[in-house]
């Protein structure tokens, strides 16, 4: 689907969290939580892949496993030619310069006891990138780049606003000059106007630094502004993967359709049909049989096959993949 060799390639990634055993380790083992099961995708250099799904669908686990902040159970991840899970600690440390993460919670992602300067200096120290005045210059350059006043260098996180903190988080990620950034709901905790500013900043940075993004979010509206391709996850699995334009124009999976119908339209007179899903997300420890989405699926043609046979992720149109038995007859 992509002409260029991918910068990031995720192949059949699996992460299960064992739930331990009942009765303090004596009873039967409880079923593991299947946070990520058999996920594969590629991201071309300089592109943004949006990753969307409800809370608890495994998007954050996926993001962290790709960066090996969590050890995987199976699968392979190639970032910039390096096999992330096969690396020994020194090699992994070197690779960490090329892949970074920005977290959702701007309160939790900065050490409350380190000033902005200290936070930004640490990566330079770890990777021995700069010393003395040069280090100071680089910190100022980073602050400039993310649109923060240089005078904030001495501030502590609790003295900053949410948007400022998030900019510090972005500056920290950029400090080691990565090629690949995982943006783990990087704008979800911000209010709408700040969200737009940070999104613009991220888009600028991508242009300027030729960055590749994995942009994780829980709503499709935000992803639309930044993503080239979009992946939709449900219960640890990819249900749809398509170029952004195609996905927004004609979603193939009923889950994507319902997510799209939840995107608010800024027009009070707009007449539209909201497609509200019934029920909650099932527990990832006990996923439903067949198509995991079938108990909540609003597709009119839903039948016995959905309950028994798991649909494979297959190419429906050029570059557009979906995991639905009725992907050829999408809703609406």
């Amino acid at each position: 689907m992509i002409a260029l060799a991918p910068l990031v390639s995720v192949q059949d990634l699996v992460k299960h969290f064992p739930a331990g055993r009942a009765l303090w380790g004596l009873g039967r083992p409880r079923p593991a939580v299947r946070a990520v099961s058999h996920v594969s995708f590629d991201i071309a250099p300089g592109q943004t892949l949006g990753l969307v799904g409800e809370s608890g669908c495994g998007k954050t686990t996926l993001g962290r496993t790709i960066l090996r902040l969590i050890e995987p159970d199976a699968g392979r991840v190639i970032v910039d030619g390096a096999d992330v899970f096969a690396l020994k600690p020194p090699e992994l440390r070197a690779l960490r310069r090329r892949m970074q993460v920005v977290f959702q919670d701007p309160y939790g992602s900065l050490n409350p006891r380190m000033s902005v300067r200290q936070t930004l200096a640490e990566p330079l120290v770890i990777h021995r990138l700069a010393n003395g005045t040069e280090r100071e210059q680089r910190i100022f350059a980073l602050l400039d780049e993310v649109g923060l006043d240089r005078r904030l260098a001495g501030s502590y996180p609790h003295e900053l606003s949410g948007g400022q903190r998030q900019r510090v988080g972005i500056a920290r990620a950029l400090s080691v000059e990565p090629k690949f950034l995982v943006l783990d709901e990087a704008v979800s905790a911000l209010d709408v106007s700040v969200q737009a500013q940070v999104l613009n900043l991220l888009a600028d940075l991508q242009q300027r630094r030729r960055l590749t993004y994995l942009f994780i979010a829980h709503d499709l509206a935000v992803v639309r502004q930044i993503a080239d391709h979009v992946t939709v996850m449900y219960l640890g699995k990819i249900v749809e993967l398509a170029p952004a334009a195609e996905l927004y124009r004609g979603p193939r999976h009923p889950y994507t359709t319902s997510l799209l119908s939840a995107v608010p339209v800024p027009d009070p007179n707009a007449q539209r049909q909201r497609l509200v899903l019934a029920g909650d997300v099932p527990s990832p420890a006990h996923p439903p049989s067949g198509c995991a989405f079938h108990p909540r699926c609003p597709h009119p043609k839903k039948n016995e096959r959905c309950r028994t046979e798991e649909p494979a992720l297959r190419e429906i149109a050029p570059g557009q993949l979906a995991a639905c038995h009725f992907a050829e007859e999408p809703m609406q």
Partner: protein, 316 residues
């Protein structure tokens, strides 16, 4: 009391006042110091501590007599406080004030050193157990359970049985090495919540090793409970030292400690109460001062307190 000792005492008082005054004068300089002095008892605590520390350092000048000089065993024993002997004399006609001054050296340094050992071991064990988890955590915490289950006093008695006369350094080490269990639990609990925070994940993502994460990201964020437990712990160690010396297994006489001074005077509590009253008062004062300073430090060292104080502090 002679002129030199009186002047030295006045000097010590003046120095303690000067320390508090200077600290207060610069209090506005940093938010941490501002928060420290917002605790009213903190200034008193600081005063008491600097006074006793000065006494300990300047003992030869402040004390009119040596710590174990017997002046006149017949006429000068168990004398009540007077101008010449401001805190009286004890059973062996030794000047109580002089012994109190020299005793502060022993008692304060035992308290500080033993606590330093205890807090260091406790913080490192707690941080490692909480951060590494798995079997390391299990092993260390079972060790702590055992440590908490064995009464300290029995360990001391065993040590006495082994060494007859316990060298002071060993005594300090023993108190320190039996006093870290509580701290390690405290630190571990904090570390368990901290290690799940995103800034720790961010540090790992940046390539920081476990040592850097524990030292730079985890321990600074548990500094508050560590310091509070250290400040309270010094007081506890001093009380323990007093108790053990009272039982005759702590600081060996004639070396004065506040604990064995109380022990020496206990027999004539009814006839010469000053021999126990003043060292007891000294212990109580220092322990209270440590508690006040510990409390104030907890707030001073936590930058997140600033906002809380600015809103709540006004109403308090």
């Amino acid at each position: 009391m002679n002129l030199r000792a009186t002047l030295a005492l006045l000097g010590a008082l003046a120095l303690a006042l000067f320390v508090v005054g200077e600290a207060r004068r610069h209090a506005a300089a940093t938010p941490a110091r501002r928060r420290f002095f917002r605790h009213r008892p903190a200034a008193w605590g600081l005063f008491v501590l600097s006074f006793f520390v000065t006494l300990a350092i300047a003992a030869p000048w402040v004390a009119p007599y040596g710590p174990s000089v017997t002046l006149e065993i017949v006429t000068l024993k168990n004398q009540p406080p007077s101008l010449l002997h401001p805190l009286g004399t004890d059973l062996y006609s030794r000047d109580v004030w002089s012994r109190l001054v020299y005793g502060s050296r022993v008692s304060l340094s035992i308290g500080a050193l033993a606590m330093l050992v205890a807090v260091t071991v406790g913080a490192v064990v707690g941080a490692v157990a909480g951060y590494v988890r798995r079997w390391v955590d299990t092993a260390l915490m079972r060790l702590v359970d055992v440590g908490l289950a064995v009464p300290r006093i029995f360990l001391m008695l065993m040590a006495i049985a082994l060494w007859q006369r316990l060298p002071l350094a060993l005594f300090v080490l023993l108190i320190g090495l039996t006093g870290w269990f509580g701290t390690s639990r405290l630190v571990r609990a904090e570390v368990l919540t901290l290690r799940e925070r995103d800034f720790v994940a961010a540090a790992r993502g940046l390539g920081a090793g476990p040592a850097r994460i524990i030292l730079r990201h985890v321990l600074p964020n548990v500094a508050a409970p560590i310091i509070v437990s250290a400040a309270l712990g010094i007081g506890n160690v001093m009380l323990l030292e007093a108790g053990l010396s009272f039982l005759g297994i702590g600081v060996p006489p004639p070396l004065p400690s506040w604990g064995n001074m109380i022990a020496d005077g206990a027999a004539q509590l009814a006839t010469a109460p000053w021999t126990t009253l003043f060292p007891g008062l000294a212990i109580a004062l220092v322990v209270m001062a440590l508690n006040a300073v510990g409390d104030a430090l907890r707030d001073a060292l936590d930058p997140r307190r600033e906002a809380e104080w600015d809103t709540d502090g006004a109403t308090l």
